[in-house]
């Protein structure tokens, strides 16, 4: 009923103001914003000068001067990279680490002010933020290997379990243990765990293990509700199939349930066909694909 463009503009106005307020946490410490932003990007373990330049899109000359001013403040040390002595690596001094932590805390405080205003609807606001960011990053989703015991992997599997529990009455939480007791099976050389990242948010996963020599099983395909309808499930399946083929498997199998219609449609359209049962309920459909 109301004009979407006007809604977007209101959003921009308000968020610009809020983000401006967040930016001011970089100010107010006797240092221009540009310098503070550079300081904020320096990891305690040291950061390449080129990486900072790429992240902030700065001119070589400008960054060079910015780093010099941080150096004269005694906050950083510049070291030539032993691997390529043209490059330089920035390290934080003790004073630098303190100063960086202060900025970190200020940002933290500002963020909590935002959530304080959300009151009881905090989770709804976080979900809304994730949805908007994920939609805006739609074309920048990256699929990367992960360890099945990595916190991000646990988040994905936990979310997947929540979805299963909501769908199947026969399942109980104790049937879905976390971390995975057989985590080792999902590691190379005969297993894999892939996570789809939208910036630093895990929005999907899929895993692979050896079922018997030459035959792999695909498990735990999950796509975050905020990222559905963008073909991410198919991308994950394609990625895990490639991984399985590269590991020398000639066939992949999976079990599923006909209640999960979207998933089944996806598998069938991706060339999977039905096979005889090889697991127990709640599975009621079994599929395989030659790799």
């Amino acid at each position: 009923m109301l004009d979407p463009i006007a809604r977007l503009r209101r959003f921009n106005r308000v968020v610009t103001r809020e983000i401006g307020a967040l930016d001011t946490s970089y100010l107010g410490r006797g240092r221009p914003l540009g310098v503070a932003r550079v300081l904020h990007l320096i990891r305690p373990s040291g950061t390449d000068v080129a990486e900072i330049r790429a992240r902030l899109g700065l001119d070589t000359g400008l960054l060079s001067r910015t780093l010099r001013s941080l150096q004269t403040e005694g906050l950083i040390q510049l070291v030539t990279d032993p691997a390529d002595r043209r490059c330089r690596i920035v390290h934080l001094t003790t004073a630098g680490q303190t100063e960086r932590q202060i900025y970190e805390n200020l940002g933290h405080a500002k963020a909590q002010q935002v959530f304080a205003r959300a009151g009881s609807r905090q989770q709804a606001v976080i979900d809304a933020m994730d949805l908007i960011a994920t939609v805006m990053l739609r074309d920048d989703v990256e699929i990367r290997d992960a360890d099945p015991d990595d916190p991000a992997a646990l988040h994905c599997v936990w979310s997947y379990y929540q979805q299963l529990l909501a769908t199947f009455d026969v399942l109980t939480p104790d049937m879905l243990p976390l971390p995975l007791p057989d985590a080792a099976k999902y590691r190379p050389p005969t297993g894999a765990f892939l996570i789809a990242w939208s910036d630093d948010l895990p929005i999907g996963c899929v895993s692979l293990r050896e079922l018997e020599p030459g035959i792999a099983e695909v498990k735990r395909l999950w796509v975050d509700p905020i990222a559905r309808g963008q073909g991410l499930g198919l991308r994950l399946m394609r990625a895990i199939e490639v991984r399985a083929r590269d590991m020398g498997f000639t066939q992949a199998r999976l079990d599923s349930n006909t209640h999960l219609t979207t998933a089944i449609t996806l598998y069938r359209s991706d060339g999977w066909s039905e096979i005889a049962p090889y697991t127990t309920p709640p599975a009621n459909i079994w599929l395989a694909k030659r790799l």
Copy 2:
């Protein structure tokens, strides 16, 4: 499960980039951003210089120079306000109107790019944007008088009707006509229609009409779901009661339904007490308050 502060930071990163992209629509026309933003604020009918200054938070000197540069470009005309000859009013020349329209179109195009990425979840994205903006503007909600035939008033009443239809089976759309056939009753001197604004989004309303001499009736209290839990309902009730008292009414009445528990709780806590029926179903509870 995931750190809310990290989620907010991701949102900031992404949205800053997008908003930056929107800002670039103000650039790329051989004119610095500041000048373009001023041009964008000038209405075709003319705008007070003071208003522009207030909206952009500019220094008198800076705006003066900015306007001068727009004047030498031939885009605006400065006229002294006949009502107060210290003040100046900015008018767009024909060239200025064209240029402003170009900026308008560029912004429009950028906005549509954002929505294009939302695909089928466009409405969800708009709702998410409204929620975030409304939460951030929580402390800036303004209650203002409106005409019952104003588009914003119609939006509120329409939303209120949707809520009623979803709650009561006995109601049908033809029982809830729009625009209101008795709109005149909700205008001064014996009626009122109040809208709660969050920036330019109407997020709540309430109306008042004369029932019989000295007795007013409060109708159509509505609060947008995105703005609930912030005490807006109470603020609207207090505002309409003040309005009723100022108009000389000594009592206010309303009818409601016990299914609407939040509303009933609100009325009772605000000093309303039960009276004998004076309307028909779906109303099943009637309340009054001495003003």
